[in-house]
Symmetry: D2
Subunit: 345 residues, 4 copies
Amino acid sequence: MLRVAIAGASGYTGFELVRLLSAHPQVQLTMITSRAQCGQRLDEFYPALKGFCDLTFENPEAPRLVAEADLVFTALPHQAAMGLVPHLLVGGVKVVDLSADYRFRDPAVYQEWYQPHKTPELLSESVYGLPELHEARIRTARLVANPGCYPTSVILAAAPLLSKSLIDPHSIIADSKSGVSGAGRGASTAVHFCEVNDGFRAYGVAQHRHTPEMEQELSLLAGEPLKISFTPHLVPMSRGILSTVYAKLRPEVSLEQVDTAFEEAYRHAQFVRLCGSKSLPTTLQVRGSNFCDLAWRVDIRTGRVIVISVIDNLTRGASGQAISNMNLMSGFPEDMGLKLAPWQP
Amino acid sequence: MLRVAIAGASGYTGFELVRLLSAHPQVQLTMITSRAQCGQRLDEFYPALKGFCDLTFENPEAPRLVAEADLVFTALPHQAAMGLVPHLLVGGVKVVDLSADYRFRDPAVYQEWYQPHKTPELLSESVYGLPELHEARIRTARLVANPGCYPTSVILAAAPLLSKSLIDPHSIIADSKSGVSGAGRGASTAVHFCEVNDGFRAYGVAQHRHTPEMEQELSLLAGEPLKISFTPHLVPMSRGILSTVYAKLRPEVSLEQVDTAFEEAYRHAQFVRLCGSKSLPTTLQVRGSNFCDLAWRVDIRTGRVIVISVIDNLTRGASGQAISNMNLMSGFPEDMGLKLAPWQP
Amino acid sequence: MLRVAIAGASGYTGFELVRLLSAHPQVQLTMITSRAQCGQRLDEFYPALKGFCDLTFENPEAPRLVAEADLVFTALPHQAAMGLVPHLLVGGVKVVDLSADYRFRDPAVYQEWYQPHKTPELLSESVYGLPELHEARIRTARLVANPGCYPTSVILAAAPLLSKSLIDPHSIIADSKSGVSGAGRGASTAVHFCEVNDGFRAYGVAQHRHTPEMEQELSLLAGEPLKISFTPHLVPMSRGILSTVYAKLRPEVSLEQVDTAFEEAYRHAQFVRLCGSKSLPTTLQVRGSNFCDLAWRVDIRTGRVIVISVIDNLTRGASGQAISNMNLMSGFPEDMGLKLAPWQP
Amino acid sequence: MLRVAIAGASGYTGFELVRLLSAHPQVQLTMITSRAQCGQRLDEFYPALKGFCDLTFENPEAPRLVAEADLVFTALPHQAAMGLVPHLLVGGVKVVDLSADYRFRDPAVYQEWYQPHKTPELLSESVYGLPELHEARIRTARLVANPGCYPTSVILAAAPLLSKSLIDPHSIIADSKSGVSGAGRGASTAVHFCEVNDGFRAYGVAQHRHTPEMEQELSLLAGEPLKISFTPHLVPMSRGILSTVYAKLRPEVSLEQVDTAFEEAYRHAQFVRLCGSKSLPTTLQVRGSNFCDLAWRVDIRTGRVIVISVIDNLTRGASGQAISNMNLMSGFPEDMGLKLAPWQP
């Protein structure tokens, strides 16, 4: 049994990690931390989990984590993560970090969008944890940077088109819509039920921090630096992201080439499902699961391709993908503990 | 492996049965039926289930079902169920019936609230499938009548108080609130998003058909015939029932006696969780699970006890409980395939 | 033109007052206060109101309010209200207080459920502002205590039955369900979208502070002291209250007597609509309006009457009713500025 | 008083027309039609409107409409409208048509996206009823084609940029999100609460019929034919449209030029509000009103401008704009009866 701990377990991604790990046959959850809830039992804080976990929140002390766990999920705010992760690595523990701290190859990009990096030397070692792109490197990594929720949905939508050079790489526009759990569990007027209900809105237009993360991975696929337009929106629902990705097709590209690109890219992907030409996916059909469902349409009137991508932001966009990464890092099948049907309705 | 079929698999309870059975280690789903969807693949009708079931809907023919299955879930409308169930039993197949057709001991009660019964002789054999009350009889039954969603929530709330004679049995009022999936998947203006959203309402006041079902079971517990007031309401949410049950305490009954009644009644129940005196349950904490979570308060000002009961109407209120019954009828542990953490948020 | 000010205008009831007053032909809104938003323009804080109000939030200073207004709506938390109201009255200003501070005849009741009262001498003067019960006294009042949202819905449901002695006054149970705006605009985990969505729950069971307010008014109608059971619930919707009120009919009371009681009680009520025996009201049909819609059923099986009452908690349950009271206190028709059709869908 | 009738009054746009007209000081609603509800009182069908309208649905017979009304709103499905409108015009009645039948200058475009047109000769006469673009012609029109909901939101967002030649006209992408009332009141699985709730989805990708309507008006503004990419999405909320419009800025265009374009375009618009550089609009801030609120951002990284536009699809996107058009056609102030504050929360 792999001994696993969660640093920062009181939020929604923490809940989701506990929920999923409770059904994993090869994992023993040994420790959970939360400064704010320190000393409280998890199942008092989250009565839903009564009978599934009898742990008590502790403070996130590196020595205790090193002693208790073989692998730690760090579900902390960015900047807090890079204060803890190096100590875990030194202690010989593997880490799947759910923050943004280890997602960038280039410390200058991190500094531009976040703040100066404290441990830039780890950036060359950490692996961007999108299994469809980096499975081999994830398998041998000590430190995996779990992708952001929006980037997961957008990169999987655009990757086949870029890697086959079917689109103009400078024409990509990603219009994404997320459920409210993506904003975290903290109280604020912005997530007050009465402000969200019937209140669809955009935010962070042209300046959301997930933009450079998408650009890094999409540039790698394109083989040249590219920039994209990315607009996130808040949907009155709890879970789910739908991204609508637009790009200009290169001249003479046919629908068949587009179809083939997606089919080849995801032939062996366990958690990508292709919708076919007759249906369009809804966030409901992946809710609570690790799937990314994809559909695409070629618009001959405008010469553009439109890709629709849906994921569950807490599962595929965070905790489920983190467990996929843990599985790969530990030699387990990628889908161990994750073969759960989506929640509907 | 137990070979299992679902007659009437295209609705929400059908989806939920397939979802849950796909994670059951001792079951093989062999056949699904739906007149309306006959010939269509389940995973085209429900893209969420792609990868979990490759069956195609067939017509509900008894000989095919008898040939394919050891146990059949009949998730048909009432009246349709009693047209099929006798043929299955004759063929040697066990049945868990999710309709109302076999829930009543007394055919006259069924006739008063529904219509004349076609096979009243089976009513004495069928067992009311609430495991907390009838586990022993369920284990040996050929035919189990799966309880209604509202009755499950109300009977579990009131049972300990009646069986210990702590309340006036003629004072019970059950005010229940249900998510919209309880109305089924059929299209109607009543379940149009815009009619439900921000539109909380009561329906079937003083005449809902789940009333006599509750009265039958509560009368058995009280040892005398009783009648209750039951009012169902429609909540703008997809899943979940919360029942608020009021009753007059008998003179001199103490809070300690009430506490003890609940603790003793559910000490060995695998799917009932007691909330304690400091918290009140929400439908969210049982969503997608087979739990019934209970809390109660004694109001000394009015001499009443108020019990709050939450379940997921599709899981505990229908398909999850049906699988519990299947487990008991098949000699499996009651919670096999059902040890899944609730969905939150 | 009546000069009107709002003390405490930044919350939902403040917004609703501004919205409604902006359409009132005889009112000039002259001043709005909010400690937290002091110095900010209302239409920056609430962009929805751009073009409807160009005022800036000020601190709630009594001398300024006295100078600027003939009538002040105090939409402050309880306890804060009683610090300001006496100064306004001394200054010759009329007051409609939306807090609980002046709703009780008996300071001991206020003290038991809230805290000691600072100005108990004003309690005998203030009038409980439910126009259907106290219209004549409201017309001549200096100080009107605007009813709570739950009490408005419950008292209007039970009043005809009590005033005609058709029910056992000690048998009343009020099971109420409210949209989230009733909890106010303040940020907290309890009103986080993801905690409310799909998360129906009860709260304050057997101890909610609106209970004694209902008991005061219902006891007056019954002509004897009575106690009720009251349970509030939180519905995943923004606005609306539905109360289901149960009571034991006195022996021999007929449906006709019940019908007549409601028809006579509300024959001249401008803001109560009776639904008839064939339909049941939904919160949607009164949303954004000052109406209370009522339906009732006599259950001969149990000898109980069930009354369903729906209001908009922010309009009839707060700001709309406050304007009704202002109209009566100022000699305007009760419905001036309030003849607006409900919002649907 | 202007005598007004509504042909097709039983749907959501019909309800909204009645709601708004009931507050209009110069209009008398004289007749409403609905084949399906013929013979039923409106306030029985919509109890919300009790006290606001005592009319009964009639069949849509042209002679009756001509006799009863000076102006008729035709809120019928496309194709049905063009069967009735010519008869009304011949009878001397003015018409505001809410269907698509008279929106296109070119019958070939109508035929390509809908079906052959029965009265193409009226297309040159009818005026596209977007007051910000065509106010002068609307004032003298007999027949106004009320714009579609999506086109209203998109055209108002892009118009200032095109009319000042600030963008590449072939680069426009409109990603729109609508509440469910846009789908109408008819029952279908697609609008079942449980399918919509938590189920955000795109539909009609690259083939929605509102596309050519936008292209017609935007081409006029650009002075050259253009095509756009338009993707509609369904949001789990009842009302509201938010459109996110992307376009490539022409070289050297500055933020100041963009700001000026919007300010000049809408300086005299009574129902367009500009949000400024610090805030982004939500659908909630225009709900129930006739406003279109606009914000924009220039993204220097990508050379694109992003415009966010919000409207209420039933008010500005249908019935409110129809009344604006009626006002202009009748010599009333454009905002008569429409000066109502938005609904929040």
